[in-house]
Subunit: 460 residues, 2 copies
Amino acid sequence: LAISKFIAEIKKIIARENIFEDVEEKICYSYDATGENFLPDLVVFPTCAEDISNILILANQYNIPVVPRGAGTGFTGGALPVRGGVVLAMSRMNRILEIDSENLTALVEPGVVTGKFQAEVEAMGLFYPPDPASLESSTLGGNVAECAGGPRAVKYGVTREYVLGLEAVLPTGEIVQTGSAVLKSVVGYDLTRLLIGSEGTLGVISKIRLKLLPLPAARLTLMAIFSDVTEAAASVSRIVKARVLPAALEFMDEFAIDSVNDYLPGTFPEDAKALLLIELDGPEAAIEQEAAQIESVVTGPNVISLKKATSAAERDRLWLARRSISPSLQKYNLKKINQDVVVPRSRIPALISGIHQVAARLNLFIINFGHAGDGNIHVNIMIEPGDEDAAGRAKQAVKEIFKLVIDLGGSISGEHGIGISKAPYLGMELSPAAVAAMQKIKKALDPKNILNPGKIFPEL
Amino acid sequence: LAISKFIAEIKKIIARENIFEDVEEKICYSYDATGENFLPDLVVFPTCAEDISNILILANQYNIPVVPRGAGTGFTGGALPVRGGVVLAMSRMNRILEIDSENLTALVEPGVVTGKFQAEVEAMGLFYPPDPASLESSTLGGNVAECAGGPRAVKYGVTREYVLGLEAVLPTGEIVQTGSAVLKSVVGYDLTRLLIGSEGTLGVISKIRLKLLPLPAARLTLMAIFSDVTEAAASVSRIVKARVLPAALEFMDEFAIDSVNDYLPGTFPEDAKALLLIELDGPEAAIEQEAAQIESVVTGPNVISLKKATSAAERDRLWLARRSISPSLQKYNLKKINQDVVVPRSRIPALISGIHQVAARLNLFIINFGHAGDGNIHVNIMIEPGDEDAAGRAKQAVKEIFKLVIDLGGSISGEHGIGISKAPYLGMELSPAAVAAMQKIKKALDPKNILNPGKIFPEL
């Protein structure tokens, strides 16, 4: 069999301690945050680009799928070995190679945990903004492969904006350097950004050159509670029109509020129907001025309260409510079907009311929260595990919500990618010509379809 | 002949007033800022994506090169029809289709002049940061195709950071929508950024969805004059370390200063060896605080003067010196060979001293200025027109300077692209594997090499 010959060859080039063959070991690399499972034939821990290159060259010879994996925190199945083969577990390539405080750049291996990296640079007075919710476990390599976002994207942009260059191994084994260590470079095609968000289908990332910022001098958090969701959404537009660009502008709908209130009683007033959590950062004088501007535009009969926090302890208290959504949902013991859709900011009220209508009609419990500042809302359909009928209605709801999102001029994925979960819906957003162009690129770089097959384009 | 049959077919599908056939008309579309000339067989002004699609389909049938052209202000020959064929002059697709002040986005056609667009959005209290020096004549389509930068890139990034999505016509004629109108989207490969900076070789841009920002409330300009170039460069690092990210941080070396002093006598003191022009923008309180921080770190025996300007008139006076470099050079009646190299910020002193050494050894007059904040320096080699020997030495200097730049960890093009001017040097920065990957993408999307052939990769 090809796979056993392939494994025998792998053992000749990769040290024994960097190979997992036993089922109990392989199970740990068979799932991700989707809850789905696919057992790989082998798990290999590369230690350098050359390892990855050698594995890919062999995989092309023996026609074995190769699936790169960060921390496996993805919501769309990007790291799942859906056709078996080798999982390339990148967790042992986890060194921070350089933090250059003169030029505000860093060079890291892909297995570095995002939160750990942020702590390191912040200790030096520097700042790496992208902050996916998974940051305590997810890795920079996974963040790059999926183009992760997070609350700060509204002001600072997504992972893409912080990657200057990559070392990557192409599907056929060539090691390439893309981009540059400098802040500007227009030399040939933008392979860096072609790889970012390609979900491990066009190359395996072996080094990342990141751009850093100076750490903002101060932070200030505001929480506004509304008796009306439309008013909350309108406040988002008014804040931006007042020329304030918050570092985070988070939204919770009434079901998210109720869930947190059940979990932490008394957190919110009973008539709260929507909430905005607003974080400002920058020079102290500037954020005080911005807070005053926000206070002047977030006002009116539908504003139940507007609290301001400057100390770290007070800020943590306000953020606790937002951070408690996921734990609060656990108590329901329900299965969470999590979709991260995006609409133009001004269409958030239409999106939320449309989702509430879908929920009512299909008799589903749907909780919405997320990044109102950039229109990226996390839609969570909560169903009883094993309830086949509810699962069917949830599937229908996903389709209707995606259609609504597209009609509102939005996108079916803001930061989670397509993977396998959203692959059936790709054609709702992309035209056949756009998909065909992407597939031509995939075929040009991976003629045998070795690298992470079955992702994004289900037919490949 | 293929070309005359092709022209006959074009006349059937494109209105007569949108075709230029006469030599005197075609000459106007034969050159760009490189000073080189290539006469096209035909100039066509498309009015919509369908025109472009129809032309490309015919061009594929008859094997005729198609060269998209914005305003022809490029420095590397991207818009030159080096193998004849059709120039697609995009200047009649010049409508601003939408400015959405709720969602801070705009939809434009590629022929919109960048400066005109900036004026329109600024009148609405909005802001489009990319500011290439050519902005009064260059177009948004050309800016996207070359990934234009400008002084504000140090704080705001380059054109790439402001493009949310495109409508583009692929080399084989398919019209595709890339990206999205929203601020975040990870749905398939990033065709948007693959097209940005691809210099018109992978697609013809027919619509651009841009991201806007709120217009900063205030601006403040500082000018620091130094008796020592190393001190000027060190000041750049100190400013960034003080957590100040200026909206512009421009540099002039002693030869640029001397040239402006000859043109506008008394502008600078005789012992000035370097200059930094620093622009701050943001809330008034913030920029006053940042200016004070700059004054506290830009100090010492090598600082001849540090001036601060807040009124528009005072700011214009300070910028006049920077803007006078190009006109001041004209009086020498010399040919200017302009290269835009980039190095990590901290390596600017090494770059400048290395260039001065090359200039002395090869007996050349080289003037350096540019965007110190992001390490992007414009190197201008000034030679007598028709002096073959000087031309040879200049060519040698370019090669040596590119080698120096690569050795310093930099890039041979920050914002001008590769085109034909830098194509011979592509291999100095990119490995054969990286070039091969790019060429595979080109071949996958443009199998007959119809769209802008001979650019970036001289062998294609």
